[in-house]
Symmetry: C2
Subunit: 308 residues, 2 copies
């Protein structure tokens, strides 16, 4: 059963990890948001791509969900002594990824090609794709002006009030080679429980992606549970943009292509509203507190929608 997952960072990686535990690797492909990517210290940093890859490789920091396991901080220690900006802390092992990616980009390799090469080195058997090769930096329009995504997310800890988003260059960008065909030939697409605005949003805004999603079975897992985001600013964004932070609001953003939606037991009351949009629902325990939760949720989601 060919499955394509669309994913952001930490929440997406948990779902992808669950899927990787139950699907043969050749049956799982992941398309990852690159809107969070930025250049720091002259290095190209792709936070979501790295979180997904580190997780699939089994080398992610199990405590944070992002960054490397067995990480050391000698570079950061010296950077602090030099009076550097310390709001985006880079671990030594993680830094190697950004250095080598930058080196390969500078010699002309595409981000897709580099990601494939890194996956081979990390012994990742699934196909992992950046959503596109061009940089599409997400700008967050806030009451304090327009901020780059990492400035808003990490440096300002998503405190500024959000008024909207801008995916710079999205109209000129093309999805990575092969992604559209891969989605159209898949038996199931899974929208991971990632931020609908800034993780899934950029992916489905790319030319041709929404159209391809309408042609195949698509199921999602809600990132909003009991009115709150499992992690990050998703619920806060819904509120600031004038929507109620709920699974129903998430489903509305996806309703033109979503066939099924997994929502949490605590949101059972949302089921009717979602069904009224013509979307099937699975009400289950969606919060993944450990690896076993990931496996169980992935299996439930696949089993349920296979039965449909």
């Amino acid at each position: 059963m060919k499955v394509v997952a669309l994913a952001g960072g930490v929440g997406g990686a948990k779902m992808v990890d669950g899927l990787a535990m139950i699907l043969p690797p050749e049956d799982l492909s992941v398309v990852v948001n690159t809107g969070d990517d930025f250049v720091h210290y002259g290095l190209k940093i792709c936070p979501d791509l790295d979180t997904i890859c580190y997780t699939l490789a089994g080398i992610a920091n199990p405590k944070t969900g992002w960054g490397r396991d067995e990480e050391t901080w000698f570079v950061a220690e010296e950077l602090e002594k030099l009076g550097s900006e310390m709001w985006f802390k880079l671990g030594d092992r993680d830094l190697a990824t950004h250095l080598e990616r930058t080196r390969r980009l500078n010699r002309g390799d595409s981000l897709s090609k580099i990601t494939r090469a890194f996956c081979r080195k990390w012994d990742i058997k699934q196909d992992v794709f950046p959503m596109c090769d061009e940089p599409i930096p997400t700008k967050v329009l806030t009451e304090e002006g327009e901020l780059s995504f990492q400035e808003y997310f990490v440096h300002r800890q998503f405190k500024p009030v959000v008024k909207g988003f801008r995916f710079v260059g999205i109209d000129q960008a093309r999805p990575s080679e092969g992604i559209i065909e891969m989605i159209e030939n898949s038996e199931l697409v899974i929208i991971c429980p990632s931020n609908p605005w800034v993780s899934i949003g950029p992916i489905i805004s790319l030319a041709g992606i929404r159209e391809s999603l309408r042609k195949v079975p698509v199921v999602g897992v809600s990132p909003i549970v009991g009115g709150k985001a499992v992690k990050g600013p998703a619920a806060k964004m819904f509120k600031e943009l004038g929507f109620s932070p709920s699974s129903v609001s998430v489903a509305k953003l996806y309703k033109d292509f979503l066939n099924g939606f997994a929502i949490d037991i605590v949101d059972k009351e949302d089921e009717t509203s979602i069904k009224n949009m013509g979307i099937e629902t699975l009400v289950t325990q969606t919060v993944m507190r450990n690896r076993e939760d990931r496996r169980i949720l992935a299996k439930e989601v696949i089993d349920y929608f296979v039965r449909l």
Copy 2:
């Protein structure tokens, strides 16, 4: 006594370290070659500047003469796993210097300004100047074609036969602000025992430097001892360019501004030829095997030329 030292990397750093042991810090300024600078992994690396600064800060690796003390190699270990080029190995602590320098250059700071800021952080009391703010990359013309300096020096371990050098952009470059005045107001300029072709060569090729050196007392220390370079390719370069590798050949390159030259006891026979060029000589033990040797040589050089 105001002293200005012109220096390259390891040999220069030894001399500068000796001078720093005997001169009050406010009396010693160092002008450092930047022709070896290059961009690697997207980061600006200034090998000579870092070697001088690490040495003055007392944080240089005492075994190699370059790189950091108490260095760790976690980034390099991961880079190797990712299949990176490993010919220029970057230690973790050293890497922080390149990262922070690149960050500051990207925001518009000049290399001089960054160097001053780093010196304050490292508690270096002497003034250290890059020879200029613009990149002047040294190209080595070899029988295998033109190579960038680090490609020749580190990657190819200076094996290719040298036919000449090109300091790209030297005609348009200006010495760092204040250097010319500093030299002209100094009581003594010391040409460190650095490579005359690729360490001292770029500095004295900058507009106005040779002219300023002719106005003040200038003494040098020969980097060639017994027909060999103490370290690096200097002797090999002399031979390949058709000169005998000797103190006499070095003195000839500097003869329009050199007033005195320290040569090693093993090269005593060179004394007459050098004196015939109108250059005073100091024949002494010039090879610095330890920190005490550095102090003794620095003191001998200063005392001797003060007496003159």
